[in-house]
């Protein structure tokens, strides 16, 4: 299996802050991989190290087995890091032409890519008049137009309207599925991540707090929803494993094997249970719970 991006014991220190902090991670080639985490978790720094923009304090990062910043490996990579910026005197078309010249790409379909990201009408306008969403679109075209094997996208739909988000999400999935491009995506929009990513890693304070397939992560964090009365008594029995879910229900953070004993204890305590059902967590629930457990929520 080819590893697209690998970090080993990666540390970057900014004053007293370490993010990433001894991060070891291997992202395989193929599919869409999500990198989640609060601000300051080390997502952008991980990308900047991989792209050779920043030097790690210790540890290593590799792209396709080559050290971070290796130009042969970087030729296989397209990237959009944070809000993209452009020389203000260049038009969108000029920006891509300049980047094509810089990359040594002679036959880039610049017009086609501007159309694909919805910028064909604005192709010959200077980028200093672009909205944040338009800059994001141009950044995506810049990341994709040289036909890379791996694309690293940091908040690709930030500042876009809902229709734009849908278009870009479709484009990312299309490129990953039909053209076999590996996409590594950092985003705070968990709905977007859930829709496009096969696997995710959640970073907290520079370390991995959780990692796995989206379905596995959500299935692993099931909770028992009890509709019962009195709710206060259920919460008293559950202690810190219980959380009220409306006026007449409780979410119990327990494993499937603990359920029979809990129900028996509640019945013996005089609680009337009218419904008990397992509920899978959504990605947002997994994310927030993971961060809470890691102490970064």
């Amino acid at each position: 299996m080819t590893i697209a991006l690998e970090a080993s014991g990666l540390v970057k220190t900014y004053g007293a802050v370490r993010a990433p902090d001894d991060l070891s991670l291997a992202i395989p080639a193929g599919g869409v991989f999500g990198v989640l985490g609060p601000n300051g978790a080390g997502k952008s720094t991980l990308f900047r190290i991989a792209l050779g923009l920043v030097r790690p304090t210790s540890g290593t990062a590799q792209l396709f087995g080559a050290p971070a910043g290796d130009m042969a490996a970087l030729r296989k990579v397209g990237a959009m890091i944070e809000t993209p910026r452009y020389p203000p005197y260049l038009t969108a078309r000029d920006t891509l032409t300049m980047l094509a010249l810089e990359s040594g790409v002679r036959n880039a379909d610049i017009g086609g890519w501007l159309e694909r990201v919805g910028l064909s009408q604005a192709a010959d306008r200077p980028t200093n008049g672009f909205s944040v969403g338009m800059k994001q679109r141009l950044g995506l075209a810049a990341a994709f137009f040289t036909r890379p094997e791996l694309v690293i996208l940091d908040e690709p739909t930030s500042g876009m309207d809902p229709a734009g988000i849908q278009e870009i999400r479709a484009l990312i999935v299309d490129l990953a599925q039909k053209e076999g491009v590996t996409v590594i995506l950092a985003s705070h929009q968990l709905d977007e991540v859930k829709r496009v990513c096969d696997r995710v890693v959640i970073l907290s304070k520079g370390k991995i707090a959780a990692e796995g397939a989206v379905d596995t992560l959500t299935a692993s964090q099931v909770r028992l929803r009890l509709v019962a009365s009195p709710v206060a008594q259920v919460l008293a029995v559950l202690g810190d494993k219980g959380e009220a879910d409306g006026p007449d229900a409780v979410l119990a953070d327990i494993s499937r094997t603990e359920a029979p004993a809990l129900i028996k204890a509640l019945v013996e305590a005089g609680v009337e249970i009218t419904e008990a059902r397992w509920r899978e967590a959504d990605l947002e629930g997994v994310y927030l719970k993971t961060l809470k457990t890691a102490g970064a929520a």
Partner: protein, 274 residues
């Protein structure tokens, strides 16, 4: 790869009209207008055609070229060079470029393109100087002579090359400051201050000892003036070649050391925020 970086940088500069005009065209244009205005002033002062004062075309060109890296032109060259060398810090666009080409090539290409732009700036200076001479002669009634001193194309090429090299010492300094300060303004201020300090220092040291010595030769502006004096004189009569060789080495060394320093610093620089 280096050729790609140069092509991309050249493409950018050709679309950056503000930098092209203010950095590389404005000073020669001012020189042109001042030269023509000087002839108009002389003609009005004399109140008759100045037939007894021929205008030396080659002399005028060499004088204009010789001033090509003096304080006033250096200010505008610094503005142009800083826009190219530090623009990617100002616009936060290094993140677009560094994954596409090596840092050595990226900064090296900027230095090459600034060097090209300065060469064109000096060619423009020649053209405008010739034009100003012709227009000035027609205004003041002075006759035109090709070369009163016997200097010719070889001398013009020599002065052009030395002025270009002198300007490149300032450009290399601008590159170091651009990388360290991450600011176009910082680079402009540094170049202007250093250029001004060179003039003051050279005059002061010459006052103490009029002969070239290691202190005066270490000043790029002084070395450039010495070299220009040498190449301007036909047959180099009456000039010692020893200090001239040292002066050339000084200019080359300053340029090479500063440019290398800028590239080494840039290669090790974190671009967390450009």
């Amino acid at each position: 790869m280096f050729a790609n970086a140069i092509a991309a940088e050249r493409f950018r500069l050709l679309r950056d009209r503000g930098t092209l005009f203010w950095g590389f065209c404005f000073a020669p244009l001012v020189g042109f207008f001042l030269s023509v205005a000087g002839e108009v002033f002389l003609r009005n002062l004399a109140k008759k055609p100045l037939t007894g004062m021929p205008l030396d075309l080659v002399g005028q060109v060499m004088k204009a070229l010789g001033d090509g890296a003096s304080l006033f032109p250096a200010l505008f060259l610094a503005i142009g060079a800083a826009a190219i060398l530090a623009g990617d810090y100002r616009w936060e666009t290094w993140r677009l470029l560094t994954p596409r080409n090596s840092r050595l090539h990226l900064l090296g290409a900027k230095l090459v393109v600034v060097g090209e732009a300065i060469l064109w700036n000096l060619v423009l200076t020649i053209v405008l100087s010739l034009l100003a001479s012709v227009i000035g002669a027609s205004i003041s009634g002075r006759s035109l002579t090709a070369s009163a001193s016997g200097a010719g194309l070889a001398q013009i090429a020599g002065v052009l090359a030395i002025t270009w090299l002198e300007a490149m010492t300032l450009v290399s300094l601008a590159a170091v400051i651009a990388v360290v300060a991450r600011s176009p303004m910082g680079a402009v201020v540094a170049v202007v201050v250093v250029r001004f300090a060179q003039s003051i220092l050279a005059v002061g040291l010459q006052g103490l000892d009029p002969e070239p010595n290691w202190k005066t030769l270490a000043i790029p502006g002084y070395s450039a003036d010495l070299l220009r004096g040498f190449v301007s004189a036909p047959n180099h009569a009456g000039l010692e070649t020893g200090p001239v060789g040292v002066a050339l080495i000084v200019l080359l060394a300053w340029t090479a050391v500063l440019a290398t320093g800028a590239i080494l610093l840039f290669q090790r620089q974190d671009l967390t925020r450009e």
